[in-house]
Symmetry: C2
Subunit: 298 residues, 2 copies
């Protein structure tokens, strides 16, 4: 499994505390989460200032860093604050650093990977990674954000077409397809050559629609969200990692994958940065998976 | 089962059409929905202008109208419009009419009812109906709205205390308890002498929390919401009616009741006014209940 995404240093403040230059970035969250199930490799870029300890941590998780370019300049930096509504981040500062103009180069040994997660980058950058693969992977999962939809919705729609699973959250789906009805938005995703549509709904869970079925994954009842940064990325990383591990892309298994993804994402929000992700075991994940069974039982 | 609530004439416009002076009101929706399961009686007030055909319709559903006062003046009138986001109503006109200063009088034959739904009225009016009962009913379900929370949050909290199930939607719960975290809001409901907390989340379904359990009812995947008026009232009416019919207030049965409530509420949104509610059969409701099983299965 290969993950394209940012590697970042985050400074953030929530009602529960603050962290300076903590490890962040979509590839970091996604691959750390995925490493609970699979052996991910990262395609990304860091600056000369990126601490070696973070590289060591990722390597200890069994994550391949052959595709991480070390460039002149500073690592992508994000400074943000979560206030009264902890689900809403206020961006205080962004410094693109080495991410600006980044042209990913996929290492030879990655090019036959069957599972690919294209994390948060411009659609053109995501596309270039897909095009460098020797053959079309068995599963391509992509992510987007409102910033890219504002900028070029058609490019985002093209990525939806090129992906098997184009992840987006409810706000992004409503924006991209110009409808307030999420079911209609999911239908629009299906029209873009997609066999399945998954829309994340934050605290409300996620929906998963195919041509003739519908699944609703509940949100996990978290009473103490400490830091929601990376929730979407750990969700996406777990989803892809679990599917890579099991090799089963049937609807039933995708439903399971979504519950695992929700479990890991909910743990992630319980601590700052990757603190909680670093901690949790397969046993913890299974425990929460089983709790989800009880949560929807009637 | 007894239902306190408004009986109204609604003029409304949605992207799918318009209706003038259609039958509306919380007691109307709630008791029509409840009549699928139980034999409800209404406590309400109408004006001299209230069409006899609506009274006939309710009576044909087996609804007892002994508690409907016919007063001098006009029936409560609401004019609203649903636009691009069909979940958000814009109120264009409200005429309280006979509802202003309404002092409900509970008929003798209602006073031993074991199931009571206190629909949308000022907390003082809700409380006066509860106080007129001969004995504390086995189940008291109440509803509120943001208007009453703005006006007197302490009175609303007192009604939460007096009810077994105090229904509110997510926005109302966040407002009443000053938190953005719905789990924390549900915990606050439990602190008010309540054994259970139910929070409705519109398209995202509903949650149901007790001291040591948590249930998430998914939203039904409606692609065509024609008119969402009365969704909360048909939900509440079904919930109370189903519990009245089964007489079982155990957690497992309440979970079932919530799914039935979601089923009926989703049908209601498929037509104008009470058009769809009038139509549906027990078979339709069971069909949707079984669909919900598939929607959460993993």
């Amino acid at each position: 499994m290969i993950t394209l995404g940012s590697m970042a240093l985050d400074s953030l403040e929530t009602p529960f505390g603050k962290a300076e230059n903590a490890l962040g970035g979509s590839a970091t969250y996604a691959s750390t989460a995925a490493s609970l199930f699979a052996k991910p490799g990262i395609v990304s870029v860091v600056g000369k200032d990126f601490p070696q300890e973070h590289m060591d941590f990722l390597q200890e998780r069994g994550i391949d860093l052959a595709g991480v370019e070390k460039a002149e300049g500073n690592t992508f930096y994000w400074k943000g604050k979560y206030g009264f509504d902890i689900n809403v981040a206020e961006t205080l500062d962004v410094q693109l650093g080495v991410v600006e103009g980044f042209k990913p180069k996929v290492p030879e040994e990655y090019k036959d990977a069957e599972y690919l997660f294209l994390g948060n980058f411009e659609p053109a950058v995501q596309k270039s990674v897909l095009e460098q693969m020797n053959k079309r992977p068995k599963l391509v999962v992509s992510d987007t954000m409102n910033f890219y939809i504002d900028k070029d919705p058609e490019a985002v729609k093209e990525m939806v077409k090129l992906s098997d699973i184009a992840l987006m959250n409810d706000g992004e789906a409503r924006q991209l397809f110009g409808t307030t009805n999420l079911m209609k938005a999911a239908r629009e995703i299906l029209k873009l050559d997609s066999e399945l549509a998954i829309i994340k709904k934050g605290e409300h869970g996620a929906i998963f629609m195919t041509k003739d079925s519908f699944f609703s994954a509940p949100g996990y009842p978290l009473e103490n969200v400490v830091d929601p940064t990376g929730a979407g990325d750990s969700f996406a990383g777990t989803l892809t990692g679990y599917l890579a591990k099991t090799g089963d892309l049937g609807e039933e298994n995708i439903r399971k994958a979504l519950i695992y993804a929700s479990s890991v994402a909910s743990y992630n929000a319980e601590g700052f940065s990757l603190d909680r992700l670093k901690d949790i075991s397969q046993e913890d994940i299974d425990k929460r998976f089983n709790e989800f069974k009880k949560i929807v039982d009637f």
